[in-house]
Amino acid sequence: MKGWLVARPDNMSGDNRADGPRRSQQAPLLVAPGDDLGDSGEFDAGHGVLVMDGRLRALKQGRMNNRDGTVSIEPRRTAYVPRPSDLVIGYIEGCTSNIWFIDIGAPFNAILPMSLGPSKAEFGGIRKVLDIGDAILCRVQEVEENHSSVVTMKGMGLRAIRSGSVEEIDPHLLGRLIGRGGNNLRQLKEETECRVIAGDNGRVWIDGDLGGIIEARNKLNDLLEKAKVAEYGGVA
């Protein structure tokens, strides 16, 4: 499962991996859109940074990071933009006789053709298998500029979600949730005895007994609070 790339830089150069709690040596440098961040000859542009006239310019508000020669910004919020092979949690919004329309929390909906859905589906009767309002765990198959992305349920572990609860967090916080080497996520699962699956679109499925789900949700909220504090250097 490719769950560890976070704060995806839309279509800008560079990658920004958040591998867990960050230890900064000094107060975080907070930047706003329009701020000049240095010479583009010296550093590469990562998430939230654009090269303009030989300079690096901040496109977002947040904390600036300079890691391995790439300057990037950890923003307060990122819009989820789907990439092929992303694991996502979606909701069925509608359907025709052989296509489901899926809300994946992106700027536009995705489609799930009958051929890529659960095998039991029949032409004209696909609602019997996946109805409007159902939740699914699926993978992004194809993304193209001129039409909706296509998702598939053919693959290991992909299925309809029939129990538990789905929480939403900002995609750029997924790294913190999962932790270095998956440690945080593993710990969360053990402590709450719940199944926890984090979709790349920031939706997190928690399944188990009610007490466990509530505990997991609380721990998730704590994590988000801590992330907010860390980003703004302790000033809430």
């Binding site: 309002g133 939740a135 509530i214």
Partner: protein, 263 residues
């Protein structure tokens, strides 16, 4: 308003919680979110209030205009209540003409105020047959995280009770406080996961069923009731929430009185 997709998972989860007497944010069944009430917050209005319930935030503004009394009611002024939920309040509030939801909101809150008789339209008369005051109450939602009904109703009565008739500006005498003879308060109960709860937030409204709005005046007099959305409830369920409404309305009435006294 765009009718939002109701995830089945949400409904199932809320039902599971309800069976254990729990709510998804940890509140008790009849427990409210934190309430903030501020009056005199709109410089250009003659009376105003801002209410925050959890993350639901609304404004109420009172303005006065001079009207000609209707021929069949020459001694009476008027009260007009207008509610707007503009797209600023939430993703689900799409731009366009007023939706049935926002119209119902306005009318239910209006009835609660009007039917209580807290404003006597005869008091609003200036010159019989010629001039009278029209009280215009504008309700404005800024953030919708559920229970706009109660937030609007609370802001409305607080704004009215702290309003000043701007007689001097209209050369109709001296400024004086608007006469409001009682304090109607609305409490709304939403059926979530099979049972009624108080002060539903947006998630509970999304995954819930019918709702009941109860407006009580001083001494627990019932001034208006409204059942909204699809669903069936029993007399016993109603009696239970009516009981809850009595104590909660009293608490909110106290809140309004304290805010007005503090001015």
């Amino acid at each position: 308003m765009a009718i939002p997709l109701v995830p089945k998972l949400l409904r199932a989860h809320l039902a599971e919680l309800a069976a254990e007497d729990m709510r998804h944010d940890g509140r008790g069944r009849f427990e409210s979110r934190d309430v903030e009430l501020e009056i005199d917050c709109l410089t250009r209005a003659d009376g105003s209030a801002r209410v925050r319930m959890g993350d639901t935030i609304v404004f109420a503004g009172v303005k006065f205009q001079i009207m000609k009394p209707y021929p069949d009611r020459p001694n009476q002024g008027g009260l007009m209540c207008s509610a707007e939920v503009r797209p600023v309040a939430g993703r689900q509030w799409e731009p366009g003409p007023p939706s049935p939801q926002s119209i119902e909101l306005g009318r239910v809150v209006d009835r609660g105020i009007r039917e209580s008789g807290c404003i006597n339209t005869e008091d609003l008369c200036i010159i019989p047959g010629e001039k009278a005051w029209q009280v215009i109450l504008d309700l404005f939602a800024v953030s919708d995280d559920g229970n706009l009904f109660d937030a609007f109703a609370l802001a409305a009565i607080a704004a009215l009770k702290s309003a000043t008739v701007p007689a001097e500006r209209f050369e109709a005498g001296e400024d004086m406080p608007l006469e409001v003879s009682k304090t109607p308060i609305m409490c709304s109960y939403h059926k979530v996961g099979g049972r009624f709860v108080y002060d539903a937030d947006r998630r509970e409204e999304l995954g819930g069923d019918e709702r009941i709005h109860i407006t009580l005046g001083d001494d627990d007099h019932v001034h208006s009731l409204q059942k909204g959305l699809k669903g069936i409830f029993t007399a016993a369920e109603f009696a239970e929430i009516m009981n809850e409404a009595r104590s909660r309305c009293a608490e909110l009435r106290d809140l309004v009185d304290k805010a007005i006294e503090g001015e």
